[in-house]
C-alpha cells in the first residue's frame, strides 16, 4: 500500500497523520484524565462520564451564543470563560451526583456501573428535552481558525495546537495536584483504605465528593475542547465512553502516566492506520492490539511495584 507514494510524500503523510494523531491524543487525554481519577483512583465505573463531557460542550455552546448575542466585541475570548463555566457546571453536577448516588455505592463497585448507566440515560433525555435532538455546533473565534503551513503538503490546524496545549496544561495540573499537594495525599490515602484514612484524621466523605467533582469538572473541560473538533448532540458522549475506558484500562488503572502513554499509543496507531486502511479496519486492528497486550499484561502498561 506504500508503493503509490514517493518517499517525501510518505514522510509528509506520516507527519500530518502523526499530528492528527496528536490532536486525537489530546482529546483522549482530556477525557481519560477525568476518568482516570474517578475510575482509576476511586474505583467508580462511571458510565455517565461521556454525559458530563457533553454537559461541558453544551455550556460552551450556550456561552458562545450569549457572547455573540450580547457581547460581540468580546467574542474572541469567550472560549476561556466557557471552559471555566464548563468546569464549574460539570463539577457541581458531579458533586451532587456523588452526594445523591455514588457515596452509597463505594462498597459495591459493580453496582456503580448500572447506577451511572441509568444516570447517563437520564442526562441524555434531559439534553434532548432542553436542547433538542439536533446536533449543535459552535462558532470558533477567528484566532482559532486556520492553520500553519509548514511545507507544501504539511499543515497543522491552530485549534489542534490549542487543544494540545490545553491537554498538556491540564495533565500537569492534575499530576501536581495528585502527587505534590496535601490534598493529593489525602485523596490517595482515602482511595487505598477509606476507614483507615478516617482514623488518621481525614474527612473522607468531603475528599470523596471533591475528587468526584474534580473528575467530572475535567470531563466538562474536555467537552468544551471537544466542540472545536466535532458537533454536540445528546448522545455524542456515548461514542466516546468506550474509547475512554479503553485508554484508562490499557494504561493501568491507577497510573496517570500510564493513561497518558496509552492515549498516545492508541491515538497514534489509530490515526496512522486510518490513512491507509478504512476507519473501521483501523479500529479493529487497534482493539486487537490492545486485547493482545492486556492478555499478556492484565495490569495494563504501567503498574506500581509494591508488596500488597
Amino acid at each position: 500500500m506504500f508503493a503509490d507514494y514517493s518517499t517525501s510524500e510518505l514522510m509528509s503523510i506520516f507527519a500530518m497523520q502523526g499530528f492528527a494523531g496528536l490532536i486525537l491524543f489530546s482529546v483522549f487525554v482530556l477525557m481519560a484524565l477525568g476518568l482516570a481519577i474517578i475510575f482509576g483512583q476511586m474505583g467508580v465505573i462511571n458510565m455517565a462520564h461521556g454525559e458530563f463531557m457533553i454537559l461541558g460542550a453544551y455550556v460552551t455552546y450556550l456561552t458562545s451564543n450569549v457572547f455573540s448575542e450580547y457581547m460581540p466585541s468580546m467574542f474572541g475570548s469567550y472560549f476561556f470563560i466557557a471552559m471555566i463555566l464548563a468546569f464549574i457546571a460539570a463539577g457541581a453536577l458531579g458533586m451532587f451526583v456523588e452526594w445523591a448516588l455514588i457515596r452509597h455505592l463505594y462498597k459495591r463497585p459493580l453496582d456503580t456501573l448500572l447506577a451511572t448507566w441509568g444516570l447517563s440515560l437520564i442526562l441524555q433525555q434531559i439534553y434532548r428535552s432542553v436542547f433538542g435532538a439536533r446536533e449543535v455546533g459552535v462558532t470558533l473565534p477567528d484566532w482559532l481558525m486556520g492553520s500553519f503551513q509548514l511545507s507544501e503538503i504539511v499543515e497543522v490546524p491552530i485549534n489542534g495546537i490549542f487543544v494540545m496545549t490545553l491537554a498538556i496544561g491540564i495533565s500537569l495540573a492534575v499530576a501536581a495536584l495528585m502527587y505534590k499537594s496535601r490534598w493529593g495525599i489525602q485523596v490517595r490515602s482515602v482511595v487505598q483504605n477509606r476507614p483507615m484514612a478516617g482514623a488518621v484524621g481525614i474527612n473522607t466523605s468531603k475528599v470523596d465528593r471533591l475528587t468526584f467533582g474534580l473528575g467530572c469538572g475535567i470531563a466538562g473541560v474536555a467537552g468544551s475542547a471537544f466542540t472545536m473538533i466535532g458537533s454536540t448532540g445528546p448522545t455524542s458522549g456515548q461514542l466516546y465512553i468506550v474509547d475512554t475506558f479503553l485508554v484508562v484500562v490499557f494504561g493501568g488503572a491507577a497510573s496517570l502516566l500510564g493513561t497518558i502513554a496509552s492515549a498516545f499509543t492508541i491515538s497514534q496507531a489509530q490515526s496512522t492506520m486510518e490513512f491507509f486502511l478504512s476507519g473501521s479496519m483501523a479500529k479493529v486492528l487497534t482493539l486487537l492490539f490492545v486485547v493482545v497486550i492486556l492478555m499478556l499484561r492484565p495490569q495494563g502498561l504501567f503498574s506500581l511495584k509494591v508488596r500488597r
Binding site: 490517595r188 487505598q192 483507615m196 484514612a197 478516617g198 482514623a199 481525614i202 506500581l304 509494591v306 508488596r307
Partner: protein
C-alpha cells in the same frame, strides 16, 4: 483522660461488647488482654469510630465524642494504630506520615518523629508497602503520633514481630508517653509485653471486663490462666 461507660457494640443482632465501663487516667498505659474473639479489636475499632457503637458514652478529656466520626475523633485527640498496621502501601513513608498531619495543619513532618524512629528518615522516599513488618509498625505509630494525640490506641502492636523488636517497642512507647504526656491503651495477647509496658492490666472475656489489676501487684499466673485456652 478517657472514660467509657455502659458501652455496647454489636454487629447487627449479635452484641460483642456488653455494657463496658472503664477509665484511663492521664499519662497512664493500660493494657487490654484477652484471647482471640473476646472483643479486643471490636472495642478498639469502635472507640476510634471505625465501626459504630450501639449505646453508651465515651468522653475524652471531659468532651463527649460518642457521636463523632473517625476524623473528628482524631481532631479531639485520638490516635490509632490498627491491627495489621494498615499503612498506605503505595505511598511513600513521608506521605504516610503526612496523612496524619491533616488535623494539625502542620506542613512538614515534625523532626521529633524522625528522632523517635530514625529508620523512617532513612527510608522516607520508599513506598510503605516495601518496608518490613517492624518498620511498618514504626511507621504506623509515627503516623498516629503526627496528629498530636492525647490518647494513643494500639491494637495488637506485637503481632508478627520478632521478640527483640517487641522489647524495643515497649521502650519506645514508654518514652513517647514520658515525652508527650499522653495516655496509651494497648490491646495485647503477649503477656510479657503487657507486663513490660502497662501501668494497669484489664482482662476482657466475651465482651466484658472480668479482671483488673495494677502492674505493681499483678498476679502473673492468674492473668496467664485467662489467656490460655
Amino acid at each position: 483522660m478517657l472514660s467509657v461507660s455502659n458501652y455496647h457494640v454489636s454487629y447487627g443482632q449479635s452484641e460483642i461488647i456488653h455494657g463496658m465501663n472503664f477509665d484511663v487516667k492521664p499519662n497512664e498505659i493500660v493494657a487490654i488482654m484477652g484471647r482471640n474473639g473476646m472483643g479486643k479489636t471490636t472495642l478498639m475499632k469502635s472507640l476510634m469510630g471505625v465501626i459504630p457503637s450501639k449505646s453508651g458514652e465515651i468522653t475524652l478529656g471531659g468532651k463527649d465524642v460518642s457521636n463523632m466520626q473517625s476524623y473528628q475523633r482524631v481532631g479531639a485527640g485520638f490516635g490509632f494504630v490498627p491491627q495489621g498496621r494498615m499503612i498506605f502501601s503505595s505511598m511513600t513513608v513521608k506521605e504516610n506520615i503526612e496523612t496524619g498531619l491533616t488535623t494539625t495543619k502542620a506542613r512538614t513532618v515534625p523532626k521529633d518523629l524522625y528522632d523517635l524512629f530514625p529508620v523512617l528518615l532513612e527510608m522516607r522516599n520508599r513506598r510503605g508497602g516495601n518496608l518490613s513488618g517492624g518498620q511498618q509498625q514504626q511507621l504506623a505509630i509515627a503516623r498516629a503520633l503526627a496528629s498530636d494525640p492525647k490518647l494513643l490506641l494500639l491494637d495488637e502492636p506485637t503481632e508478627g514481630i520478632q521478640p527483640s523488636i517487641i522489647r524495643d517497642m515497649a521502650r519506645t512507647l514508654k518514652e513517647i508517653r514520658d515525652q508527650r504526656g499522653l495516655s496509651i491503651v494497648v490491646s495485647e495477647q503477649v503477656l510479657s509485653f503487657a507486663l513490660d509496658i502497662a501501668d494497669r492490666i484489664l482482662v476482657i472475656e466475651k465482651g466484658e471486663i472480668v479482671h483488673e489489676e495494677l502492674r505493681e501487684n499483678v498476679d502473673e499466673a492468674k492473668i496467664a490462666s485467662y489467656l490460655s485456652v
